[in-house]
Each structure stands twice: as structure tokens, then as C-alpha cells.
Symmetry: C2
Subunit: 382 residues, 2 copies
């Protein structure tokens, strides 16, 4: 390593960036807006730590996240710690420990930074990932699933993100169906690949006794009402039927409060879900492949039902207007202090000037100020 | 390791904690208040990343922070990355790279999480450390030092933190004085230890030709006006005199804008400062040994003058009242949606209820709600 040429001081590891103004402010203000909407629905803010013992983090909902986690040794205990790749497993742990005795339903919100060893999806570039989300712990009902989604939709609206689509799926459905239909283990990999690629011909080829059903499922994918109409008529074995009925009930519960949302259903999607056990949702903006957020139903560490939704502010903030800058005032060294304080209270940024006279005007121009305050007198920057 | 008994799921590594409500909200709102004051003085928010290449992070102002840094390997480049123990060196790097061409004075603010291998001071317990601060890059003047301190004081006042003391010191002073006075290297360790412990007898014993001067310096420590009066009369060699004159000028510059601040000077303090090159400040709350913040003058990566001040919100938030909770309303399943939205807009938290009738009242009580909304009717929780 010592033979390598020295790194440029500007070089950061891939997936890590410096945010400058206005991006850093847009993100911070966007997170505050999301957290405010969450709080208005009774989701109390918590802040789990950036690092935990690997053994406890990976024990519960985090088990599937091992390969995404950076690890370091705790010199105190010589146990390994993980730098969290995801906050949801921490909420699950808190719900079972410090918040174990808190009244249910337990509603919590969080905003924090996560780090993943490699970007999760091919189209993503970040390894430092901001997460802002909510978790609803206790109830296991279509109404709870619907609440999470409705609160998320309201948060996006407050942020000014429009043209959003909520794509529902049910990761346990396909595995249950294949199991119940007795599809031999040897045929499953090819069939799962075909379903994942939505390749109707390959599904028909590898589907065996399920060919007709799976083809119908593929065709049912789309707008929620279209999907529900098709799914209701399908003949399915009991466990698969029950899973799908829950999805249909969730659509109905969402429609009760939000008939206007753009809602789609894909009953055969199952890839990319780690610890989820029920209805899941991916949030997209029209015409963009990056996810704005995702969430769904899972089990807390003590098998308590829970559901949640996590947004990616670093993706979201690219879709909203930059935070408006404050108007700037250059304070000459003799500027009246009380007047400067009044200007700040009115929303101006006052820039402490170290120059007077013509140099003050020159500095004010260079620093983007609208006027110079000298004594109580304002002089516009020409 | 595999023979160890399993960890309790509630156990976190020492120095890492779960913050619940209201603490998590108090911290977040406190940070927002600090950042708002910083922005009102023209400090633009930036957000450097949580991790950087070790080689670049430790190259500049961060060189002295190596032993405080957790390190992991970047699987992409096989170079080591550090989990930042401090944000200021990142600002110094940004000032020399991406913000190298930005107009000077460059004013930036930041709020973010740092991780240290071990708590920095014995009285501290945290290894995950929140930092919120400002840096003023370009000018090297008493006015710049004074601005940082005045903006910091205003931020604490807005937060409601009272009884604050700003303790000024000049870390390069004692090394320069010992050097100029020709104190032999063999005597310095004992003398520095004596100065560090403020042990007047030992200072007299090991001080050699400087005994009288060092004793006078020890006695000059205290309230700023007392210190300045004593320091001005001292006979000092030229470099030491220049360093001290700058401290005296900085006190005068601070007094011009803030005659009311509790300001102390300790000219012989030098320990615990890593990369600082001029006037430094430690912020204390009366009667507490923990620092609320610290800062001072240093050099950016390309030797550009800079000064900054960093607060510790995790310490600060213990000194301010907890963030006031929202009043909570239980929404029965038939609650009027428009009325619920109106209540949220008025600052209430509406708790989505999954029960109706007497069970709704019972749930509302358990969840800390003030009343139940059913249709448009409110029923107080008894």
C-alpha cells in the first residue's frame, strides 16, 4: 500500500459524498418535514445508535443483513460491532427491550444514517444511506398496513413530491404457493427465475401443475383494482389464498382513506425482501427507477407483529425544489447591532463584515449580499 | 468467542445508547435551533460523509486523531477508511477542495454523528458523539475569533442554556515560551506536568529562569479582565509576547460585541488541543465538568487560516427542558377525516384507532390521549 501514489485530498470512497449548500439544507429541512408529519400521527421519535454488537443486531430482524454490514472490533469487550446498514432491526430490538412495556400499538419514527458495504440495488450509488421512517408495532391488520402507507403518502405530499406510485407485493405468497402445490424443489429455481423476470413463456414451461395459475397471476399484476378483480377469481390452495386475501383486504383498507393514491399490485414479486412476512410496499416516483422508500410487515425480536415504511431522503431531495436561501446582508463593522438582530429575526442572514467603506461594498458583492448595513443605513449592493 | 454466553438483546456497546422520546426529539429540535442561529449569521450548511479514506482524513487537520478512529477496509479499493471521530478536519478538507474556489470568508455549519474508539475525557461516557458547529475560513484576526464565540453564545441563549462560561486559552503559548527561554528539553516534561496540574510549587522548582514569569502566568488565570491586566504587564520574549497579545486583542474584540459574557482566560493551558494553532475556547455550564463545546483556530489543509466552534448536543440537551409533547387525540374508526387533518394542523397528534365504542375509550386512555374523536364529536378521556 505504501507504494501507491498519494490519494487526491478530494477523493472520497465510492458511495460517500460531501453535500454542500443548498443540498445539505434541502435534505435537513426535508427530513424535518417528514418527521413533523410522522409526529402529527403520533409517531414518537427515537434514535438508536450507529453501532451495535453484531451478535444482537444480527439476532433478530437483522439476520439477513450480515453481508451488508461493516464490522469493527470493540476494544473494550473484544466483541464485533456492526455499523448499522438498516434502522428497522434496531426498532424491532427496542420494541422488545426498552420499549417492551410501552403501550401498544407502539408508534415510533426515526431519522438517521446507515452504511452498507455495497449499494443495495444496481441503479443506486450510495453506501452512506439516510433513512427516515415509521414503525407501527403491535397490531397485525389490514388497517395497520394501510395506516403506514397513508401516513407515508401524506409525508410525501407535504414534501411536495408528486406523481408517486405505491407498489404492493406479498413476498411470502409465491414460496407458499409453490410449497402447497407440491412443485418439486428441483424445478423451483428455474421457475422462480422465470417469475422474477416476468417471463410468461418460461413460467408456462416450468410451472407444471401451476402453469395456468401462475400465468393468470402474472397477468393480474398492475393497477390495484385490476389486480384485485383478477386475483379474487383465482382458484388457490388455502395458505396461498389466505395470503392473497390479506393483500386484497389491505387494498380495500387503503382505498377507504386514500381512494386517490396511485396503487399497483404485483402478486408474484418476492426478490429483495429480507425479513418481511406480509404485505410490502415499494414507493416510486413516476418515470424514475430509484426507490423513494420501501416497507412492509415483519416480526419484532419477540415475534410481535409490526409494519413500517422507510424513506430515502437522499433520493427524495433530488425531486423537490432546493431550500430557499436567506437574503444576505453585509454588516459593516459599525452596523447597528440591534438592527442586525432585527434583520435576523425577519429571516435575513447577516454576514459579519471585516471591512468598511468601498471594500465593504466589494466584499458584500462577492459574498452574495443584497445590501450593506452601516449604522442604521442600508446601501444596496450595486 | 462462541463459548461466551449469549448477549442480552438489550445490551449495547458502552458509549452507545438508544434515545427514546422525549430525549430524541429534544436533541433533534435543539440541533435545529442551533443550525437556525448559525444560518442567520450566514453559515451555510454542509454535510461531509461519515467515512473517508484514512489517508486523506489523517493527512490534514485530522492527523492527530488517528488513535481515536475506528477503521474498516473498503472492499472496492482495499484502502482503509476511517469512521470520522471529528467533523472539523472534513470541513478543512472541503475548504481546500470542493469549496476551494468559494468566496472568502467562507462560513459553513454542520450537524452530524461522530464515533470515537474511547471517550475523549474521563468524565465523558459517549463513543457516539453528535457534533454541531461552525467554521469561519479565510480571515486570521481577533474579529474572526470573536465572531465564532459570539455566534456560539447566541446559539446557546436561543436554546435556553444559561450560566455559560467561555474559557479562552492559547495552546501554542507555553511551548513557544519554553522554546524561546531556552528551557532545556530535559526539564520540560516535569515543568509541563507541573503547569498542567497548576502546581505552583513544582512550577517554581522546575521553572529555572522562567520561574517568576510562569508563577505570574499561573496567577493571571481567571476572569478575562483580571487576566488581561496581569498579562499586559509581563515581560516576555517576542514570540510568546505576540501570541499573548493576540489573546488580549481577541478578548477586546469579544468585549466589543458581548460585554456581558462570562469570559475567563487560562494562558498556561495547552493539553487536549490536537490541531489548534491559536486562540482556543472551551464552553462550560456553571457547576458542570462536562464541556458543552470547544473550538479555536487551526489551519486548513492548504494552510489557510480558519477558526471554528463545535457543540455537543448530547451534553447540551441535558441542560434544557424536554421538548413539549403534542396533545394526543384518539381517532375512532369513524372519525371525520377532515376534522382529524384540522387537528393535526393545529398541532395535535392524531392516533389512528383500531377500536370503537368503550374499547376506544380504554385504548385512548392507555395511549395517553386527551379525547376521542368519533365523527365530529369529541369525548374527553375520563
Amino acid at each position: 500500500m505504501t507504494d501507491d501514489p498519494p490519494l487526491s485530498p478530494a477523493l472520497l470512497p465510492s458511495g460517500f459524498v460531501d453535500l454542500l449548500t443548498p443540498d445539505a439544507r434541502t435534505e435537513a429541512e426535508g427530513v424535518a418535514t417528514l418527521m413533523d408529519v410522522f409526529a402529527s400521527h403520533g409517531y414518537d421519535r427515537v434514535r438508536p445508535p450507529l453501532m451495535e454488537f453484531e451478535e444482537t443486531y444480527l439476532a433478530g430482524a437483522g439476520a439477513s443483513l450480515a453481508e451488508q454490514s461493516f464490522r469493527v472490533m470493540d476494544p473494550d469487550t473484544r466483541r464485533m460491532m456492526v455499523l448499522r446498514p438498516d434502522i428497522t432491526p434496531q426498532i424491532a430490538r427496542m420494541a422488545a427491550t426498552r420499549a417492551g412495556g410501552a403501550a401498544r400499538p407502539l408508534r415510533v419514527s426515526y431519522a438517521g444514517t446507515c452504511v452498507v458495504v455495497a449499494p443495495v440495488a444496481a441503479e443506486e450509488s450510495g453506501r452512506q444511506v439516510m433513512q427516515t421512517g415509521i414503525e407501527l408495532i403491535g397490531p397485525d391488520s389490514p388497517q395497520a398496513d394501510a395506516e403506514i402507507l397513508a401516513v407515508g403518502a401524506e409525508a410525501l405530499e407535504r414534501l411536495g413530491v408528486t406523481g408517486v406510485s405505491f407498489d404492493l407485493t406479498m413476498p411470502p405468497f409465491i414460496p407458499a404457493l409453490l410449497e402447497e402445490a407440491g412443485i418439486p424443489a428441483s424445478s423451483r429455481p428455474a421457475l422462480l427465475r422465470a417469475l422474477d423476470r416476468k417471463d410468461a413463456a418460461a413460467v408456462a414451461e416450468h410451472g407444471g401443475a401451476l402453469s395456468t395459475t401462475l400465468t393468470a397471476l402474472l397477468e393480474s399484476s398492475g393497477a390495484a383494482e385490476h389486480a384485485v378483480a383478477r386475483l379474487t377469481g383465482l382458484n388457490l390452495p388455502p395458505r396461498a389464498r389466505a395470503i392473497l386475501d390479506r393483500l386484497v383486504d389491505t387494498v380495500a383498507a387503503i382505498r377507504e382513506s386514500r381512494p386517490d393514491l396511485r396503487l399497483t399490485v404485483d402478486p408474484v414479486e418476492f426478490r429483495g425482501w429480507k425479513y418481511h412476512t406480509g404485505v410490502c410496499v415499494t414507493v416510486f416516483a413516476t418515470g424514475r427507477s430509484e426507490e423513494l422508500g420501501r416497507g412492509g410487515r415483519y416480526l419484532c425480536n419477540d415475534n410481535e407483529p409490526a409494519c413500517g415504511l422507510t424513506f430515502r431522503p437522499d433520493v427524495l431531495f433530488r425531486l423537490i425544489p432546493a431550500a430557499a436561501p436567506r437574503k444576505r446582508v453585509y454588516l459593516a463593522p459599525d452596523a447597528d447591532r440591534a438592527e442586525a438582530a432585527r434583520l435576523r429575526a425577519q429571516g435575513f442572514a447577516t454576514i459579519g463584515g471585516f471591512s468598511a467603506g468601498p471594500q465593504a461594498m466589494e466584499d458584500a458583492r462577492r459574498l452574495g449580499c443584497d445590501f450593506v448595513l452601516s449604522g442604521l443605513a442600508r446601501t444596496d449592493v450595486s
